[in-house]
């Protein structure tokens, strides 16, 4: 491992084993994300990348292992508490609330205790600046948006939580190239703001460009870990694990 893992990580996943029913999906996954870091998670379909994100988010609980957030164990906390503690989640199929308007979708994350109206407005302004199309469609139902617009809504919605880390699950899947570069810009903007990102992707070039470090998973466990810069040069590893 030539890329150094952060000494005081924001999120530390320690040897988790997760099951769906009787299926043993994660066989001891360990990884870390530092504060403000962009970390990539690559691997073929079905190796357990999404399950890893879901476990961090508290949507499934591991049978073994620990999840640490800012040094504190949060393994058994329910998802809604983790969201409040600063983990944002953008799932693989976007999952916008189809029957809620764009504005109401945003409010599911915006309406929190202890946030002043001024701060809420500032958050909305920021997000509408990033995604002007959402401002246009703010009173439309989420289900009427196009695929790309829904992806933007899903990211904007997570941003409403003012998270310390956002878990992005295949954000560019099914999107046109123009939108893919828009996603890349969003990731960079979030990085500039100091939000950490754990990026699961099938799009290898995007991941290598956007991330600082990359983990590669195979068959439910992490097989390789390197700095993105190294992997850009040494694509034998990529070929080996991803067949790309």
């Amino acid at each position: 491992m030539s890329a150094a893992e952060p000494r005081d990580p924001l999120v530390a996943v320690e040897n988790i084993h997760t099951y769906y029913g009787k299926s043993h999906i994660l066989h001891g996954v360990s990884l870390q994300v530092g504060r403000g870091e962009v970390v990539g998670l690559l691997g073929r379909n079905g190796v357990g990348k999404s399950t890893t994100l879901k476990t961090i988010m508290g949507l499934v609980h591991p049978h073994e292992g620990r999840i640490m957030l800012a040094g504190k164990p949060v393994t058994s906390l329910p998802a809604h508490k983790l969201a409040r503690l600063g983990i944002g989640y953008v799932p693989e199929d976007r999952r916008v609330f189809r029957l809620l308007t764009v504005m109401e979708n945003l409010r599911t994350g915006l309406d929190r205790h202890g946030v002043t109206d001024a701060r809420k407005q500032a958050l909305l302004d920021k997000v509408f600046a990033y995604f002007p199309v959402l401002a246009e469609r703010r009173n439309q139902a989420g289900g009427t948006l196009s695929g790309g617009e829904q992806q933007m809504l899903a990211i904007a919605r997570a941003m409403m939580l003012e998270p310390k880390i956002i878990l992005l699950d295949e954000p560019t899947e099914g999107l046109m190239p123009r939108m893919v570069s828009q996603i890349r810009q969003i990731i960079e903007a979030l990085h500039r703001e100091g939000v950490a990102i754990l990026l699961v992707e099938q799009n290898v070039p995007l991941t290598l460009a956007a991330s600082e470090r990359v983990y590669i998973m195979e068959k439910g466990t992490v097989r390789h870990h390197a700095a993105a810069s190294e992997l850009k040069v040494d694509d034998a590893v990529i070929h080996q694990y991803l067949g790309v």
Partner: protein, 298 residues
């Protein structure tokens, strides 16, 4: 031509109009009961067998508060609040432990609760029916009948309660939370919405609505421990016909079925008129199983 005229003359217009009003009145109460049931099912996949008993307990609390204060409206409000709290307590103790288990266990648990509540009422209040006094008497003439104003007030109040709740759902943070949780429980959690508490809250609301129906309906019939059974059955039929989890559908279905039953009772006895609702159910299951008023089958 004569035969047609004869036929038209033989139609009992006055009875039909009276039964239309009756049907709408009963339909609105049924809508209030069924709304709670369909809400609970839509958000947490729980078939609340005890819903009829919450209706019944609401009526009894109404009786007790009436006896103490003599004020119908106080009885209505206190009953709604008390049974809502009871509903929350029930959900916390018997339904929360069952989250994640086979959904059929919730049917069993709520069935058990309904047995306990029914017999509790029988124990506390005895088998003799009690009465709730209408808040006001007063009639207007509807053909040969003196039709009580109170019945129209019930329909209006039920509509107001349902309407008020609908407004609550459409605006405000908690309304958004409830709608989001109903649509996608998992994503709602990931957005920080405290889903377990939303469930408890919605169950309490459903219970409160059932209780309010009980108090409103109380003056029309006697209040006794078995009154919940008939209503829960009808409410289930309404929820299936209207489309499970579909609030608008269950309201429409409530009125539709109540009207049909009211018309049927012109010609057959009330005990046999219930067959109408069964027939509607069977037809719905055969031809439009997702619900009579659901536009596109999923």
């Amino acid at each position: 031509m004569d035969a047609v005229l004869q036929f038209l003359e033989a139609i009992p217009y006055d009875q039909i109009l009276i039964q239309t009003v009756n049907g709408i009145v009963t339909g609105m109460i049924l809508a209030l009961v069924a709304s709670g049931l369909t809400l609970i099912f839509g958000i947490m996949d729980v078939v609340n067998f005890a819903h009829g008993e919450l209706f019944m307990l609401g009526a009894y609390v109404g009786v007790v508060v009436m006896a103490a204060t003599g004020n119908f409206w106080v009885a209505l409000i206190l009953s709604t609040l008390t049974v809502a709290l009871l509903g929350a307590a029930l959900q916390l103790t018997t339904l929360r432990p069952l989250i994640g288990r086979d959904p059929l266990t919730t049917i069993l648990a709520t069935f058990g609760v309904s047995l306990v509540l029914q017999n509790y009422a029988l124990w506390q209040f005895g088998p003799v029916a009690r009465k709730i006094q209408e808040p006001f008497t007063g009639y207007f003439s509807l053909f040969y009948l003196d039709y009580p104003w109170y019945r129209l007030v019930i329909a209006g109040l039920s509509a107001a309660i349902i309407g008020g709740f609908w407004l609550f759902l459409k605006h405000g943070t908690y309304g958004i939370w409830i709608r989001a949780t109903t649509q996608d429980r998992v994503m709602a959690q990931a957005m920080g919405i405290p889903v377990p508490w939303v469930h408890t809250f919605v169950f309490a609301i459903g219970a409160g609505m059932a209780a309010a129906s009980g108090v409103l309906f109380g003056p029309l019939v006697g209040v006794n421990h078995a009154m919940g059974l008939d209503w829960v059955l009808k409410a289930f039929i309404v929820v299936v016909v209207g489309g499970m989890g579909n609030l608008g559908g269950s309201i429409a279905a409530s009125i539709f079925i109540s009207l049909l039953e009211a018309y049927a009772s012109i010609w057959v006895s009330p005990a046999q008129a219930v067959i109408v609702s069964f027939v509607v159910l069977v037809l719905t299951l055969l031809f439009r199983p997702t619900g009579l008023f659901v536009p596109t089958p999923k």
